[in-house]
Structure formats: C-alpha cells, structure tokens
Amino acid sequence: MTGRKTLLGIGTVVAMIGFNTAAQAEEILIGVATAQTGGLAPFDQPSLKGFEMAIEELNAKGGLGGKYTAKLLIKDTRTDMAQTATVAQELVDAGVKIMITPCDADSTIAASQITAPLSIPTLTFCGTAPILTVAVPEHAYGTYPADNLAATAVADFALSEGKKTAYLLISPDAAYTANLPEYFAKVFEAKGGKIVGRGSFTMGQPDFSAEVTNIRGLAEKPDMIMTGAYEPDFPAFLQQLRAAGVDTPVYGADALGTPTIRDLGKLVDGVVYTASGYAEPGSKLASFDEAFTKYAGHAPESTYEVNGYEIGLILDEAVRVADSDDSAAISAAIKGLDHFEGITGEITYAGTTGMPARALALMRYENGEAKHIATLTPDAADVPAP
C-alpha cells in the first residue's frame, strides 16, 4: 500500500507540473477485451494486472508518450470467442484507439476482424500462435515470444543436451496445443533429431491412461516428450505418466511457467519450459518483480505480469514515436519498433509480421523451484514458418 501511495503522490506532483507546461492532457481510450472468467482467466488476469500497473505509472508521468492520459475500458470476454467479438465491437463503438485482447490467437483474430479494418492496433496479452499475424496481417501484434520461436529454442536446447528422440503429445483443440509440438518437430528433425511417435488428447480430457500406456509401449523409448498441454491437462498427464512409472523428461513452452505447475513439486522435476525473461538478481525484471509485489500485494505468478507491463511500455513508446493518438499512426510506430528496451530484454517488431523477435529464457523445475538454464535467441533462419 505504501508503494501505491508514493505513486499517487508522484502522480499528483507530475500532474501539477504538467498543468503548467502542457496546456491540457488529452485522453486516449484503450479497450481491454480480455477474459476475467473462464479458461483463459488464469493467463489474462495476471497480464491485466501488469498492464494496469504500467498504465497507472505512465499516467502518473503524464500519460502515453508523456502526453495522452490513458483510460482503460475493461470488459470481460468470458473466454468465449463470440463474446470477445461482441465486446470488441462495444469498445470500438465507445471510441477506443487501441485494443488489448485475450491470451489466445483465436479470440484475438475474432476481435481483429473488427479492429483491423479501422487500423486500431490490437495486442494480444500473451497469445503466442504465430498464425495470428498471418491471419491478420495488419495491426495485430503479439508480445510474448511466438510458438515457433519458443519451439525452436526448446529444440535447440534439447539437441544441445544430447536428446535424439522425442515423442509429441498434441491436442488439435487449440492453435497452441496443436502447433507448438509440430514446430518443435520441424526444427528437431531438420537438425538430426527423430520423432518416435505422436499422441493426441482432447483438452479437458479426464483420463490420459490410454496415451500413457501407449507411451510405455513404444518400441523405441523417446529421450523426451514435447507437448503444448497446459493446466489443468498438463498436471493430469504428468501425474498419470509418472504414476505409470515413465520417467521420460517432458518439455513444453511458456504455458508451463505458472504457480500451479510449480506447486506440483517433485512431480514436475526436470520439466523444461520457456519464459519471456528470467529475473536475475539486479536485473530489470528483478526490480519489476519487487515493484509489482508492492503494487499488487503479491509477487508475480509468472512472466505474464511483466508481459502485460511491457505492453504498456510498448504503447507508450509507440505513442511517443507517432506523436499522435491516431490509431493508424500508433500501429505504424509499433511496427517500426527496433531493439526496444523492455523489462525482459529487447523487443523488435521491425522486419517481423507482428510477432516480436526477442530472446527466450529456458527454465527447468528442480526441487519445486524454477531454475534458469539458458537464454537463447534462435537463429531467424531456423524458425519454422507459421
């Protein structure tokens, strides 16, 4: 609470100074059409918290680009695609200049059908499917490392560890769970690895015993299992896999960096995943974590908070560059960001289709703790096409 008071204090001071210099602060409306309930809520809620923190801080400093006080219009999409489109339309009607959408490519694409024709820059909280910017070539942006990028990093790392064979656990139900393992497979095979089998699951499926029994019965034992499964499916799969006595290491990507997975304790020992950053002591991320803890009253659960915060910074920079509150100008400015210094590292949109080029941290759970094992910037030539 003290942190909040300080921020407010500074805000008041800045506002008073601002009153003298810049005649009147203008307002820019930002639509936040994200899931506060439903299956995406575990991802959207922390992202929103980080985003709100950034906006509060930026407003205290005079607003986006130091000029436009940002006002958030927040509406719950309930993890429902149709609801996302409806909410996006309502927000557009309310006059938003920028749109924030859920941690999911599919709903972001739905919202972009409304925002893109109006040149409104649309940023997904942590949607990572690279298909997003293929489906919506203009004005849609991801900020989190894209799945093909993350999969390349995981494959590079696995090969560097000497892993030669892998099993893929895939679900066709979502872009993330369907494509992540396949991107991995492309890179892994191109660099000499071998895929020894593929299993499929339905999201929300109660029972993984059949897959687990199939994995146990594989003629060629894989060195690792790659999956896009996340909670609550991932704990279920892993629980049943380990109970069946299979100790093959399981690799995934960003969706495994959550407290739920961490709390699985020794069950998740050896699980490797990616994150958009790693809070080394003394790093910018470490001080963000500290500031966030003061702001929210609890430590960040994952890197979704800092990602939300970075979206605020990206918007601030884009508005500064555009020197305008015009949607198209802001969008163009985002598209031109090159080696923008965020909290977790440098973020580049210039030369991409809208999914950023950036470094990834590779993490491994050990004794119930997330340990940083490597930071990689995959070679752009290795990254499979969406």
Partner: protein
C-alpha cells in the same frame, strides 16, 4: 499393456457411473437434470484443498471433503431448486445452468481462476508389479471405490424405508407423500446421495488430475449426462451401465485409434450414442414412470 488398458477403462467407467448415478437419482425424483452437479465436484475439490492447507490429516480431509459434497448438494436444493419445485423440466434445467454458471464465477473470483495443485499421497499414484505386468494403484482404488459406492447405494435402496421410498418416488412421488413420507426429506436425501457420489467422483478425478480449478466440473457433468441418457434418463441401473459403457468406449478408442484418427474420438463416441438412441430411444434400461402429477 492390454490388462492395464482394461483396468483404465473400467476405472474411468466407474467414475462416470458415479456421476451419472448422481444425476439419475435426482432426475428420477424431481425431474431435474442438474447441470450444477459438476460444481459439487469443484466444491469438494476446494474443500479438500482447504482442509489440507489448514493442516488437516489426509484421511480426515477426505472425509470432510465428502461431507462437503453432500451438504453442498443439499444446500443447492434448498436455495435454488426448492423454490422451483413442480416447475417444468426445462425451467429446472435452466435453473441448474444458472446455478452452475454462478458457482463457476464465484469460484473464479472467490478462490482463483488458476488451477490449484492438490497432490494425493504417493501410495495412491504408485504402481505394483505382479509378474510381468505393472498395475497402477490409482485405477484399482478407483474401481474399488466405485463398486463399493454402487453396492452401498443398492443396499440403501433395497434395505431401508427411505431407500424404498426413493425408488417409489421415482415412479409416483405424490403417492409416496400420501404414505406420510415427507417430500422434502426424500428430495433432500436424493440430493445428499448425489452430492456424496459427486464428491467421491471428484476425489478420484482429482487424484488423476493433481489440480482443482473452477471449471473442472464441466467435462465430467457432460459425460455423466451422456452416460445417463445412454442408460435411460432417470434409470439408476441405466446410469451405471451407461457410465461404464462410456468410460470403457472412450479409453479403448483412445488406446486403439491411430493418432490420425484420435482427434475424432469424441465424435465417434457421440455417433455411437446417437446410434444407441436411434435403436433404443428410451435408453438401454428405460426408467419406469407411471405418472407424474
């Protein structure tokens, strides 16, 4: 491997049977398809989580959780469904949808949108090796608990006055009341049993999934509904048969389907359900209902 797949199949079938029975008991008596049945599972999960966090020993926490399931079901009846007594099947169904959505949001905002980890004791997730085959303890326990629960219910329905009254009420509730048996008590008992069964299913479910989340009740209640429909809505033996049939079909399809076809598993299962209903529109073991006044 085949032995393990069969055990897996029966184990999942048992969980579905417990859930379908819970739905069927309530439906047979008041004509309510309780889609909030899944939220009883979620409530049980949170009760278990809460008890464990407060340091309650595991066996006691399980008992607390089961009681919570039963009591939550009775509370649900008292608050949401009693005022709707005598309403049409559709109105009751919609009420249960409302209760279900409300509880989901309450869990998301009141507890957390994020799944909460619950780890069962090691012995429950271990495996034993008998000769050449390794059998998992979890599914075996699951089968044992399902069978014991079914046996317990059978004894209750056959041997006690309340159990007999419940069977009678599924045929003709008005006449049961004419015998001086209070309607509220019969209905409350039906909900209590359905809650206990949901709680047992929840524990088996959580043992398999290692986490509890606000939406975890949705899939199981849907499966239970399908199982109950296959068996014959409102028929208790039908619910058991439907549950086992659905679970066994799902696991065996998953085991034998080639990976390219695996995504069509649910579609195949549902097609089979439609086929069953085309041949037997009232389900495999139709419920007997003389008249409802």
């Amino acid at each position: 491997m085949i032995a393990q797949q069969i055990i897996n199949a029966i184990s999942l079938g048992g969980v579905y049977a417990l859930l379908a029975l819970g739905l069927a008991i309530v439906f047979s008596i008041i004509g309510l398809i309780n889609f909030a049945h899944g939220e009883l599972m979620t409530a049980t999960g949170y009760a278990l989580l809460g008890s464990l966090l407060m340091g309650v020993p595991f066996p006691l926490a399980v008992i607390v959780a089961i009681c919570c399931g039963g009591l939550a079901a009775m509370a649900m009846e008292r608050v949401a469904f009693r005022p709707m007594r005598g309403a049409s099947v559709t109105s009751l169904l919609l009420t249960s949808f409302a209760v279900s959505s409300l509880l989901k949001v309450l869990f998301q905002n009141g507890v957390s949108a994020r799944p909460q980890t619950i780890l069962m004791p090691d012995w429950m997730t271990s495996a034993v090796t008998i000769g050449d085959i390794t059998l998992r303890v979890g599914p075996a326990i699951s089968i044992a608990i399902s069978l014991l629960a079914l046996l317990g219910l059978e004894l209750f329905l056959r041997r006690t006055v309340m159990g007999t009254a419940m069977r009678a009420a599924s045929e003709d509730f008005a006449v049961v009341r004419l015998m001086g048996i209070p309607a509220n008590r019969v209905i409350a008992t039906a909900f209590f049993i359905s809650g206990i069964f949901a709680a047992l299913a929840a524990l088996l479910w959580i043992a398999n999934r290692a986490s509890v989340d606000p939406l975890m009740g949705f899939t199981p209640v849907l499966k239970a509904f399908i199982a109950a429909v296959i068996g014959g809505l409102g028929s208790l033996p039908g619910a058991v048969v439907g549950g086992f049939l659905l679970g066994v079909t799902e696991v065996l399809l998953q085991a034998v389907l080639p990976p390219e076809l695996a995504p069509y598993r649910d579609a195949i299962v549902l097609s089979a359900v439609i086929l069953v209903l085309l041949i037997r529109p009232q389900g495999l073991i139709p419920a007997r209902r003389v008249q409802r006044s």
